[in-house]
Protein backbone atom coordinates (compact mmCIF):
# COMPACT_ATOMS: atom_id res chain seq x y z
CA UNK A 1 0.00 0.00 0.00
CA UNK A 2 1.67 3.19 -1.15
CA UNK A 3 0.79 5.98 1.24
CA UNK A 4 -0.63 8.94 -0.65
CA UNK A 5 0.02 11.29 2.20
CA UNK A 6 3.73 12.21 2.14
CA UNK A 7 3.59 12.44 5.94
CA UNK A 8 2.75 8.72 6.20
CA UNK A 9 5.83 6.50 6.69
CA UNK A 10 6.53 3.22 4.92
CA UNK A 11 6.61 0.37 7.45
CA UNK A 12 10.14 -1.03 7.56
CA UNK A 13 12.00 -3.64 9.52
CA UNK A 14 15.30 -3.19 11.27
CA UNK A 15 17.51 -5.96 9.92
CA UNK A 16 20.75 -5.30 11.70
CA UNK A 17 22.32 -2.89 14.15
CA UNK A 18 26.08 -2.43 14.01
CA UNK A 19 28.04 -0.44 16.58
CA UNK A 20 30.31 2.00 14.77
CA UNK A 21 31.36 4.10 17.76
CA UNK A 22 30.23 4.36 21.41
CA UNK A 23 27.38 6.65 20.33
CA UNK A 24 26.88 5.85 16.63
CA UNK A 25 25.13 2.79 15.25
CA UNK A 26 24.60 1.71 11.67
CA UNK A 27 20.98 0.77 11.07
CA UNK A 28 20.26 -1.63 8.20
CA UNK A 29 16.61 -1.19 7.25
CA UNK A 30 14.37 -3.01 4.82
CA UNK A 31 11.10 -1.56 3.56
CA UNK A 32 8.37 -4.12 4.19
CA UNK A 33 6.27 -3.66 1.06
CA UNK A 34 8.05 -5.40 -1.86
CA UNK A 35 6.75 -2.94 -4.46
CA UNK A 36 7.92 0.06 -2.47
CA UNK A 37 11.25 -1.64 -1.76
CA UNK A 38 11.72 -2.27 -5.47
CA UNK A 39 10.92 1.29 -6.52
CA UNK A 40 12.70 3.06 -3.66
CA UNK A 41 15.47 4.83 -5.50
CA UNK A 42 17.83 7.41 -4.05
CA UNK A 43 21.13 9.12 -4.72
CA UNK A 44 24.06 10.05 -2.47
CA UNK A 45 23.19 13.14 -0.46
CA UNK A 46 19.53 12.38 0.04
CA UNK A 47 17.98 11.66 3.41
CA UNK A 48 15.08 9.83 5.02
CA UNK A 49 13.00 10.35 8.14
CA UNK A 50 13.13 7.33 10.43
CA UNK A 51 10.30 6.91 12.97
CA UNK A 52 10.54 5.23 16.31
CA UNK A 53 6.76 4.88 16.54
CA UNK A 54 5.41 6.34 19.75
CA UNK A 55 8.50 8.47 20.29
CA UNK A 56 8.97 10.45 17.10
CA UNK A 57 10.75 10.88 13.82
CA UNK A 58 14.07 12.44 12.77
CA UNK A 59 15.94 13.01 9.49
CA UNK A 60 19.11 11.02 8.71
CA UNK A 61 21.42 11.03 5.70
CA UNK A 62 21.32 7.77 3.73
CA UNK A 63 24.72 6.04 3.87
CA UNK A 64 24.02 3.15 1.51
CA UNK A 65 23.88 3.31 -2.29
CA UNK A 66 20.79 2.31 -4.25
CA UNK A 67 22.76 0.71 -7.09
CA UNK A 68 24.00 -2.11 -4.83
CA UNK A 69 20.39 -3.07 -3.99
CA UNK A 70 21.54 -4.14 -0.53
CA UNK A 71 19.00 -2.42 1.72
CA UNK A 72 18.76 1.04 3.21
CA UNK A 73 21.45 2.10 5.70
CA UNK A 74 21.50 5.09 8.02
CA UNK A 75 24.15 5.93 10.62
CA UNK A 76 22.52 7.37 13.72
CA UNK A 77 24.26 9.18 16.55
CA UNK A 78 22.54 8.98 19.92
CA UNK A 79 21.99 12.61 20.89
CA UNK A 80 18.32 13.13 21.80
CA UNK A 81 15.00 11.50 22.54
CA UNK A 82 14.28 9.94 19.16
CA UNK A 83 17.83 8.75 18.49
CA UNK A 84 17.97 7.29 21.99
CA UNK A 85 14.77 5.33 21.34
CA UNK A 86 16.11 4.08 17.99
CA UNK A 87 19.35 2.94 19.60
CA UNK A 88 17.39 0.75 21.99
CA UNK A 89 15.63 -1.21 19.24
CA UNK A 90 16.44 -4.84 18.45
CA UNK A 91 16.68 -6.42 15.00
CA UNK A 92 13.17 -7.32 13.87
CA UNK A 93 11.66 -4.11 15.22
CA UNK A 94 9.28 -2.12 13.03
CA UNK A 95 10.20 1.45 12.24
CA UNK A 96 8.82 3.98 9.78
CA UNK A 97 10.71 5.39 6.81
CA UNK A 98 9.71 8.47 4.81
CA UNK A 99 11.58 9.68 1.80
CA UNK A 100 13.90 9.92 0.00
CA UNK A 101 14.07 13.69 0.38
CA UNK A 102 16.33 16.46 -0.73
CA UNK A 103 18.70 17.01 -3.62
CA UNK A 104 21.86 14.95 -4.18
CA UNK A 105 25.56 15.23 -4.95
CA UNK A 106 25.74 15.65 -8.74
CA UNK A 107 28.28 12.85 -9.13
CA UNK A 108 27.82 12.77 -12.90
CA UNK A 109 29.30 16.27 -13.02
CA UNK A 110 32.31 15.05 -11.00
CA UNK A 111 33.28 12.32 -13.47
CA UNK A 112 36.89 12.62 -14.49
CA UNK A 113 37.67 14.89 -11.57
CA UNK A 114 39.71 14.30 -8.44
CA UNK A 115 37.44 13.90 -5.43
CA UNK A 116 38.46 15.04 -1.95
CA UNK A 117 36.19 13.83 0.84
CA UNK A 118 36.68 15.67 4.12
CA UNK A 119 34.48 14.53 6.99
CA UNK A 120 34.37 14.84 10.75
CA UNK A 121 32.51 12.64 13.22
CA UNK A 122 28.96 11.71 12.29
CA UNK A 123 29.30 14.26 9.46
CA UNK A 124 31.07 11.50 7.59
CA UNK A 125 27.83 9.52 7.21
CA UNK A 126 26.37 11.38 4.20
CA UNK A 127 29.80 11.31 2.50
CA UNK A 128 30.19 7.54 2.61
CA UNK A 129 27.85 6.84 -0.34
CA UNK A 130 30.03 9.12 -2.48
CA UNK A 131 33.06 6.98 -1.65
CA UNK A 132 31.11 3.78 -2.36
CA UNK A 133 29.98 5.13 -5.73
CA UNK A 134 33.45 6.35 -6.73
CA UNK A 135 34.98 2.99 -5.80
CA UNK A 136 32.22 1.00 -7.53
CA UNK A 137 32.72 3.04 -10.70
CA UNK A 138 36.45 3.62 -10.24
CA UNK A 139 37.36 4.34 -13.86
CA UNK A 140 34.84 7.20 -14.03
CA UNK A 141 36.66 9.33 -11.46
CA UNK A 142 40.16 10.69 -10.83
CA UNK A 143 42.12 10.51 -7.60
CA UNK A 144 40.21 9.96 -4.37
CA UNK A 145 41.50 11.43 -1.11
CA UNK A 146 39.53 10.65 2.04
CA UNK A 147 40.18 12.63 5.22
CA UNK A 148 38.18 11.17 8.08
CA UNK A 149 38.54 12.81 11.47
CA UNK A 150 37.03 12.45 14.91
CA UNK A 151 37.54 13.46 18.52
CA UNK A 152 39.24 10.17 19.37
CA UNK A 153 40.12 6.85 17.63
CA UNK A 154 36.95 5.13 18.87
CA UNK A 155 34.80 7.95 17.41
CA UNK A 156 36.03 7.38 13.84
CA UNK A 157 33.01 6.35 11.80
CA UNK A 158 32.98 3.40 9.32
CA UNK A 159 36.15 1.81 10.70
CA UNK A 160 35.21 -1.64 9.20
CA UNK A 161 35.69 -0.11 5.72
CA UNK A 162 39.00 1.70 6.21
CA UNK A 163 41.19 -1.17 4.97
CA UNK A 164 39.12 -1.60 1.81
CA UNK A 165 39.21 2.11 1.12
CA UNK A 166 42.95 2.41 1.68
CA UNK A 167 43.59 -0.55 -0.60
CA UNK A 168 41.55 0.82 -3.50
CA UNK A 169 43.31 2.09 -6.62
CA UNK A 170 44.25 5.82 -6.79
CA UNK A 171 42.88 6.24 -3.28
CA UNK A 172 44.50 7.80 -0.24
CA UNK A 173 42.96 7.50 3.23
CA UNK A 174 44.02 9.89 5.98
CA UNK A 175 42.59 9.24 9.40
CA UNK A 176 43.08 11.86 12.07
CA UNK A 177 41.96 12.39 15.64
CA UNK A 178 41.91 15.35 18.02
CA UNK A 179 43.43 13.21 20.75
CA UNK A 180 44.94 9.74 20.44
CA UNK A 181 45.01 6.82 22.90
CA UNK A 182 47.68 4.28 23.90
CA UNK A 183 47.09 2.21 20.76
CA UNK A 184 46.77 4.99 18.22
CA UNK A 185 49.74 5.37 15.94
CA UNK A 186 48.09 7.56 13.34
CA UNK A 187 47.77 11.32 12.89
CA UNK A 188 46.79 13.54 15.78
CA UNK A 189 45.72 16.77 14.12
CA UNK A 190 42.63 18.84 13.37
CA UNK A 191 41.07 18.23 9.98
CA UNK A 192 41.80 21.68 8.53
CA UNK A 193 45.52 21.25 9.22
CA UNK A 194 45.48 17.87 7.46
CA UNK A 195 43.89 19.57 4.44
CA UNK A 196 46.66 22.15 4.47
CA UNK A 197 49.42 19.58 5.01
CA UNK A 198 48.26 17.44 2.08
CA UNK A 199 48.37 20.52 -0.18
CA UNK A 200 45.26 19.36 -2.03
CA UNK A 201 45.28 20.80 -5.52
CA UNK A 202 42.19 22.55 -6.83
CA UNK A 203 43.18 21.55 -10.37
CA UNK A 204 40.23 19.57 -11.81
CA UNK A 205 39.02 18.77 -8.31
CA UNK A 206 35.93 18.85 -6.12
CA UNK A 207 36.14 19.02 -2.32
CA UNK A 208 33.13 17.65 -0.45
CA UNK A 209 33.00 18.31 3.26
CA UNK A 210 30.65 17.67 6.15
CA UNK A 211 31.00 17.86 9.90
CA UNK A 212 30.52 20.17 12.88
CA UNK A 213 30.08 23.84 11.89
CA UNK A 214 33.42 24.85 13.37
CA UNK A 215 35.26 22.16 11.41
CA UNK A 216 33.62 23.27 8.18
CA UNK A 217 34.43 26.89 8.92
CA UNK A 218 38.17 26.27 9.28
CA UNK A 219 38.31 23.66 6.52
CA UNK A 220 36.80 26.23 4.20
CA UNK A 221 39.56 28.69 5.08
CA UNK A 222 42.25 26.13 4.22
CA UNK A 223 40.58 25.08 0.96
CA UNK A 224 40.25 28.68 -0.16
CA UNK A 225 43.91 29.29 0.71
CA UNK A 226 44.81 26.33 -1.50
CA UNK A 227 42.97 28.02 -4.34
CA UNK A 228 39.65 26.17 -4.37
CA UNK A 229 36.84 28.26 -5.85
CA UNK A 230 33.53 28.35 -4.00
CA UNK A 231 31.84 26.29 -6.70
CA UNK A 232 34.43 23.54 -6.11
CA UNK A 233 33.59 23.22 -2.43
CA UNK A 234 30.44 21.24 -1.67
CA UNK A 235 28.81 20.61 1.67
CA UNK A 236 25.63 19.22 3.12
CA UNK A 237 23.70 21.24 5.70
CA UNK A 238 21.54 20.10 8.54
CA UNK A 239 18.66 21.84 10.27
CA UNK A 240 15.79 20.99 12.59
CA UNK A 241 13.14 19.36 10.43
CA UNK A 242 9.64 18.06 10.94
CA UNK A 243 8.30 17.31 7.45
CA UNK A 244 11.07 17.08 4.84
CA UNK A 245 8.69 18.60 2.30
CA UNK A 246 9.18 22.34 2.74
CA UNK A 247 5.77 22.60 4.40
CA UNK A 248 6.50 22.96 8.10
CA UNK A 249 8.60 26.04 7.30
CA UNK A 250 11.31 25.29 9.84
CA UNK A 251 14.55 24.35 8.06
CA UNK A 252 14.88 27.37 5.82
CA UNK A 253 18.09 29.32 5.43
CA UNK A 254 16.66 32.50 4.00
CA UNK A 255 14.42 31.59 1.09
CA UNK A 256 15.91 28.11 0.58
CA UNK A 257 14.73 25.01 2.42
CA UNK A 258 17.45 22.58 3.49
CA UNK A 259 15.00 19.70 2.94
CA UNK A 260 14.02 20.65 -0.63
CA UNK A 261 16.63 22.97 -2.10
CA UNK A 262 19.37 21.11 -0.18
CA UNK A 263 20.78 19.50 1.85
CA UNK A 264 23.60 19.56 -0.70
CA UNK A 265 24.85 23.08 -1.44
CA UNK A 266 28.02 24.45 -2.96
CA UNK A 267 29.81 27.19 -1.04
CA UNK A 268 28.94 29.48 -3.93
CA UNK A 269 25.24 28.83 -3.35
CA UNK A 270 25.63 29.24 0.40
CA UNK A 271 27.40 32.58 0.05
CA UNK A 272 24.46 33.81 -2.03
CA UNK A 273 21.88 32.90 0.59
CA UNK A 274 20.12 35.80 2.25
CA UNK A 275 20.54 34.32 5.71
CA UNK A 276 24.00 33.37 6.89
CA UNK A 277 24.26 31.00 9.80
Amino acid sequence: MKPENPLLPYLSTLQELIDLTPDVKLFRLELNDPDIRESFDYKPGQFVFVSAFGVGESPFGITSVAHRKAGLDVAIRRVGTVTNALHQLEPGATVGVRGPFGNYFPLDEYKGKNIFIIGGGIGFAPLRPIITTVLDYREDYGDLVIINGARSPQDLVFAPEFDAWAASPKTKLELTVDAGDEKWTGKVALIPSVVSELKLSPQNAIAITCGPPIMIHFTLIELRKLGFADNQIITTLEGKMKCGLGKCARCNVGEKYICKDGPVFSMEQISQLIEQF
Binding site: G56, G80, T81, N84
Partner: protein
Protein backbone atom coordinates in the same frame (compact mmCIF):
# COMPACT_ATOMS: atom_id res chain seq x y z
CA UNK B 1 -2.33 61.27 35.35
CA UNK B 2 0.62 61.90 33.08
CA UNK B 3 4.20 61.63 34.28
CA UNK B 4 5.81 61.63 30.83
CA UNK B 5 7.95 64.74 31.46
CA UNK B 6 9.37 63.43 34.72
CA UNK B 7 10.20 60.08 33.14
CA UNK B 8 11.90 61.74 30.17
CA UNK B 9 14.07 63.97 32.28
CA UNK B 10 15.16 61.13 34.58
CA UNK B 11 15.85 58.89 31.57
CA UNK B 12 17.97 61.58 29.90
CA UNK B 13 19.97 62.07 33.07
CA UNK B 14 20.67 58.34 33.50
CA UNK B 15 21.73 57.87 29.87
CA UNK B 16 23.85 60.99 29.62
CA UNK B 17 25.68 60.20 32.86
CA UNK B 18 26.43 56.71 31.58
CA UNK B 19 24.74 55.18 34.62
CA UNK B 20 22.85 52.87 32.30
CA UNK B 21 23.06 51.77 28.63
CA UNK B 22 19.33 51.45 28.20
CA UNK B 23 16.01 52.64 29.61
CA UNK B 24 13.05 50.28 29.39
CA UNK B 25 9.86 52.34 29.46
CA UNK B 26 6.73 53.01 27.43
CA UNK B 27 5.73 54.90 24.30
CA UNK B 28 2.49 55.47 22.44
CA UNK B 29 1.32 52.53 20.29
CA UNK B 30 0.39 52.78 16.61
CA UNK B 31 -3.31 53.26 17.40
CA UNK B 32 -2.45 56.51 19.16
CA UNK B 33 -4.36 55.38 22.25
CA UNK B 34 -2.67 52.58 24.17
CA UNK B 35 0.97 52.16 25.19
CA UNK B 36 3.72 49.73 24.24
CA UNK B 37 7.19 48.96 25.61
CA UNK B 38 10.08 51.12 24.44
CA UNK B 39 13.81 50.56 24.76
CA UNK B 40 15.77 53.82 24.69
CA UNK B 41 19.52 53.67 24.08
CA UNK B 42 20.23 57.27 23.04
CA UNK B 43 19.43 60.43 25.03
CA UNK B 44 18.06 61.92 21.79
CA UNK B 45 15.22 59.36 21.89
CA UNK B 46 13.94 60.01 25.42
CA UNK B 47 11.15 62.24 24.12
CA UNK B 48 9.36 59.13 22.89
CA UNK B 49 8.90 57.99 26.48
CA UNK B 50 5.50 58.41 28.11
CA UNK B 51 3.91 57.45 31.36
CA UNK B 52 0.15 57.57 31.92
CA UNK B 53 -2.76 55.34 32.83
CA UNK B 54 -2.49 53.36 29.58
CA UNK B 55 0.92 51.94 30.58
CA UNK B 56 -0.36 48.47 31.40
CA UNK B 57 2.70 46.34 30.59
CA UNK B 58 4.93 44.81 33.23
CA UNK B 59 8.36 45.46 31.72
CA UNK B 60 10.40 43.54 34.27
CA UNK B 61 10.56 40.34 32.20
CA UNK B 62 12.86 42.18 29.79
CA UNK B 63 15.46 42.56 32.54
CA UNK B 64 16.21 38.85 32.12
CA UNK B 65 17.48 39.57 28.58
CA UNK B 66 19.94 42.13 29.95
CA UNK B 67 21.29 40.39 33.04
CA UNK B 68 24.84 41.66 32.79
CA UNK B 69 24.04 45.15 31.51
CA UNK B 70 23.17 48.29 33.47
CA UNK B 71 19.52 49.06 32.76
CA UNK B 72 16.97 51.57 34.01
CA UNK B 73 13.35 50.49 34.11
CA UNK B 74 10.04 52.23 34.69
CA UNK B 75 7.88 50.28 37.12
CA UNK B 76 4.45 50.51 38.67
CA UNK B 77 3.99 49.11 42.19
CA UNK B 78 2.90 45.68 40.90
CA UNK B 79 5.91 45.58 38.56
CA UNK B 80 8.24 46.50 41.41
CA UNK B 81 7.13 43.36 43.25
CA UNK B 82 8.43 41.35 40.28
CA UNK B 83 11.86 42.93 40.72
CA UNK B 84 11.90 41.78 44.34
CA UNK B 85 10.93 38.29 43.18
CA UNK B 86 13.71 38.17 40.58
CA UNK B 87 16.30 39.41 43.08
CA UNK B 88 15.09 36.94 45.69
CA UNK B 89 15.40 34.07 43.19
CA UNK B 90 18.86 35.24 42.08
CA UNK B 91 17.79 36.03 38.51
CA UNK B 92 18.94 39.65 38.46
CA UNK B 93 21.44 41.71 40.42
CA UNK B 94 20.11 44.71 42.30
CA UNK B 95 23.09 46.86 41.42
CA UNK B 96 22.53 46.39 37.68
CA UNK B 97 19.05 47.89 37.74
CA UNK B 98 18.09 51.54 38.22
CA UNK B 99 14.46 51.50 39.22
CA UNK B 100 12.26 54.46 38.28
CA UNK B 101 9.20 53.79 40.39
CA UNK B 102 5.89 55.51 39.64
CA UNK B 103 3.07 56.17 42.09
CA UNK B 104 0.15 54.59 40.24
CA UNK B 105 -3.57 55.47 40.50
CA UNK B 106 -4.49 52.50 38.33
CA UNK B 107 -4.44 51.48 34.69
CA UNK B 108 -7.42 51.98 32.41
CA UNK B 109 -9.24 49.16 30.67
CA UNK B 110 -7.76 47.77 27.46
CA UNK B 111 -8.24 49.99 24.42
CA UNK B 112 -9.29 53.06 26.42
CA UNK B 113 -7.33 56.28 26.46
CA UNK B 114 -5.70 58.03 29.37
CA UNK B 115 -8.68 60.27 30.04
CA UNK B 116 -11.30 57.53 30.34
CA UNK B 117 -11.00 56.99 34.09
CA UNK B 118 -12.37 53.44 33.80
CA UNK B 119 -9.85 51.27 35.58
CA UNK B 120 -9.21 47.60 34.78
CA UNK B 121 -10.76 45.15 37.26
CA UNK B 122 -7.32 44.06 38.52
CA UNK B 123 -6.58 47.61 39.71
CA UNK B 124 -9.73 47.87 41.82
CA UNK B 125 -8.33 45.58 44.56
CA UNK B 126 -4.78 46.97 44.46
CA UNK B 127 -3.27 47.52 47.89
CA UNK B 128 -0.04 49.20 46.86
CA UNK B 129 -0.10 52.46 44.95
CA UNK B 130 3.55 53.20 45.78
CA UNK B 131 6.29 50.87 44.48
CA UNK B 132 7.86 48.62 47.12
CA UNK B 133 11.31 49.11 45.63
CA UNK B 134 12.82 52.01 43.71
CA UNK B 135 15.85 54.22 43.20
CA UNK B 136 13.85 57.22 41.99
CA UNK B 137 10.20 57.93 42.70
CA UNK B 138 7.88 59.75 40.35
CA UNK B 139 4.64 61.00 41.85
CA UNK B 140 3.69 61.79 45.45
CA UNK B 141 3.28 58.76 47.69
CA UNK B 142 -0.17 58.76 49.27
CA UNK B 143 -1.46 56.59 52.04
CA UNK B 144 -2.26 53.09 50.86
CA UNK B 145 -5.93 52.34 50.18
CA UNK B 146 -7.95 50.34 52.61
CA UNK B 147 -9.09 47.26 50.69
CA UNK B 148 -11.25 45.16 53.01
CA UNK B 149 -11.57 42.29 50.58
CA UNK B 150 -8.55 41.73 48.40
CA UNK B 151 -9.96 38.60 46.69
CA UNK B 152 -13.66 39.13 45.88
CA UNK B 153 -13.20 37.40 42.52
CA UNK B 154 -11.69 34.33 44.17
CA UNK B 155 -14.35 34.19 46.92
CA UNK B 156 -17.03 34.46 44.28
CA UNK B 157 -15.60 31.39 42.61
CA UNK B 158 -15.12 29.49 45.87
CA UNK B 159 -18.82 29.93 46.57
CA UNK B 160 -19.70 27.92 43.47
CA UNK B 161 -20.09 24.15 43.60
CA UNK B 162 -17.30 21.86 42.43
CA UNK B 163 -19.41 20.93 39.41
CA UNK B 164 -19.96 24.56 38.45
CA UNK B 165 -16.28 25.36 38.83
CA UNK B 166 -15.28 22.34 36.76
CA UNK B 167 -17.66 23.32 33.97
CA UNK B 168 -16.40 26.90 34.08
CA UNK B 169 -12.74 25.99 33.73
CA UNK B 170 -13.38 23.34 31.07
CA UNK B 171 -15.11 25.97 28.99
CA UNK B 172 -12.34 28.51 29.55
CA UNK B 173 -9.46 26.14 28.74
CA UNK B 174 -11.21 24.81 25.65
CA UNK B 175 -10.44 28.16 24.04
CA UNK B 176 -6.73 28.08 24.92
CA UNK B 177 -4.60 28.09 21.78
CA UNK B 178 -1.31 27.37 23.59
CA UNK B 179 0.29 30.57 22.40
CA UNK B 180 2.20 30.73 25.70
CA UNK B 181 1.88 34.52 25.79
CA UNK B 182 0.95 34.13 29.47
CA UNK B 183 4.23 32.35 30.13
CA UNK B 184 6.34 34.62 27.93
CA UNK B 185 5.09 37.81 29.56
CA UNK B 186 5.33 36.49 33.15
CA UNK B 187 8.44 37.50 35.11
CA UNK B 188 8.03 34.36 37.21
CA UNK B 189 8.25 32.07 34.16
CA UNK B 190 11.89 32.03 33.20
CA UNK B 191 12.82 28.34 33.03
CA UNK B 192 15.28 27.72 30.19
CA UNK B 193 13.28 24.63 29.34
CA UNK B 194 9.62 24.87 30.29
CA UNK B 195 7.95 21.67 31.53
CA UNK B 196 5.75 21.79 28.48
CA UNK B 197 8.79 21.34 26.22
CA UNK B 198 10.03 18.22 28.01
CA UNK B 199 9.96 15.07 25.90
CA UNK B 200 11.21 12.61 28.42
CA UNK B 201 8.95 12.39 30.36
CA UNK B 202 6.36 14.18 28.26
CA UNK B 203 4.25 15.92 30.90
CA UNK B 204 2.15 17.75 28.34
CA UNK B 205 2.19 17.27 24.60
CA UNK B 206 1.74 19.69 21.74
CA UNK B 207 -1.91 18.95 21.17
CA UNK B 208 -3.93 22.14 21.27
CA UNK B 209 -7.00 20.52 22.80
CA UNK B 210 -8.96 20.25 26.06
CA UNK B 211 -7.24 17.80 28.37
CA UNK B 212 -3.77 19.03 27.49
CA UNK B 213 -4.84 22.69 27.79
CA UNK B 214 -6.03 22.07 31.35
CA UNK B 215 -2.79 20.39 32.33
CA UNK B 216 -0.76 23.25 30.83
CA UNK B 217 -2.67 26.05 32.56
CA UNK B 218 -3.09 24.41 35.96
CA UNK B 219 0.51 23.26 36.28
CA UNK B 220 1.74 26.72 35.30
CA UNK B 221 -0.46 28.16 38.03
CA UNK B 222 1.00 25.69 40.54
CA UNK B 223 4.54 26.59 39.50
CA UNK B 224 3.64 30.18 40.33
CA UNK B 225 2.00 29.44 43.69
CA UNK B 226 3.64 31.63 46.28
CA UNK B 227 5.60 33.36 43.49
CA UNK B 228 3.01 35.19 41.42
CA UNK B 229 3.18 38.91 42.14
CA UNK B 230 -0.31 39.53 40.77
CA UNK B 231 0.49 41.95 37.94
CA UNK B 232 -2.39 40.58 35.76
CA UNK B 233 -0.23 40.51 32.62
CA UNK B 234 -1.08 36.87 31.85
CA UNK B 235 -4.77 37.67 31.67
CA UNK B 236 -4.25 40.93 29.81
CA UNK B 237 -2.21 39.34 26.99
CA UNK B 238 -4.38 36.24 26.55
CA UNK B 239 -5.85 36.52 23.03
CA UNK B 240 -8.88 34.40 23.93
CA UNK B 241 -9.82 36.07 27.22
CA UNK B 242 -9.15 33.26 29.67
CA UNK B 243 -9.34 34.64 33.25
CA UNK B 244 -5.86 33.40 34.15
CA UNK B 245 -5.39 35.83 37.04
CA UNK B 246 -8.31 34.20 38.79
CA UNK B 247 -6.42 30.92 38.96
CA UNK B 248 -3.15 32.48 40.06
CA UNK B 249 -4.90 34.67 42.63
CA UNK B 250 -6.68 31.65 44.10
CA UNK B 251 -3.34 30.01 44.75
CA UNK B 252 -1.95 33.34 45.99
CA UNK B 253 -4.82 33.60 48.46
CA UNK B 254 -4.17 30.04 49.70
CA UNK B 255 -0.48 30.76 50.22
CA UNK B 256 -1.28 33.96 52.06
CA UNK B 257 -3.64 32.12 54.39
CA UNK B 258 -1.33 29.14 54.95
CA UNK B 259 2.02 30.83 55.15
CA UNK B 260 1.19 34.49 55.78
CA UNK B 261 3.29 35.26 52.71
CA UNK B 262 2.85 37.52 49.70
CA UNK B 263 5.36 37.34 46.87
CA UNK B 264 7.43 40.40 45.99
CA UNK B 265 6.92 42.55 49.09
CA UNK B 266 10.65 42.32 49.73
CA UNK B 267 13.63 40.52 48.24
CA UNK B 268 14.81 38.77 51.40
CA UNK B 269 11.96 36.77 52.97
CA UNK B 270 12.48 33.10 52.12
CA UNK B 271 9.91 31.89 49.58
CA UNK B 272 7.57 29.20 51.00
CA UNK B 273 8.02 26.58 48.28
CA UNK B 274 11.73 26.92 47.78
CA UNK B 275 12.60 26.89 51.48
CA UNK B 276 13.22 23.78 53.46
CA UNK B 277 12.82 24.05 57.21
CA UNK B 278 13.57 21.23 59.58
CA UNK B 279 10.32 22.03 61.30
CA UNK B 280 7.88 22.20 58.42
CA UNK B 281 4.19 22.98 58.68
CA UNK B 282 3.00 19.41 58.28
CA UNK B 283 -0.77 19.55 58.17
CA UNK B 284 -3.11 22.07 56.65
CA UNK B 285 -5.33 21.89 59.69
CA UNK B 286 -2.57 22.89 62.11
Amino acid sequence: MDFSEEIRSKAKELLESGTVDCIIGYERATDGVVARPLFVYQPSNVDRLIFDQTCAHNLTKYLLNRKDKATAIVVKPCDSRAINLLINESQIQRDKVSIIGVVCPGIVKAGLDNTSGELQDACLTCQQHTPVLYDFLVGEPASEPDVPDAYPDVSGMEDKSAGERRAFWEEQFSRCIRCYACRQVCPGCYCLECFVERLDPMWVGIRIAPGENEVWNTIRAFHLAGRCIDCNECERVCPVNIPLSLLNRKLGKEVEELFNFQAGIDAETPMPFSTFDKEEKLGISE
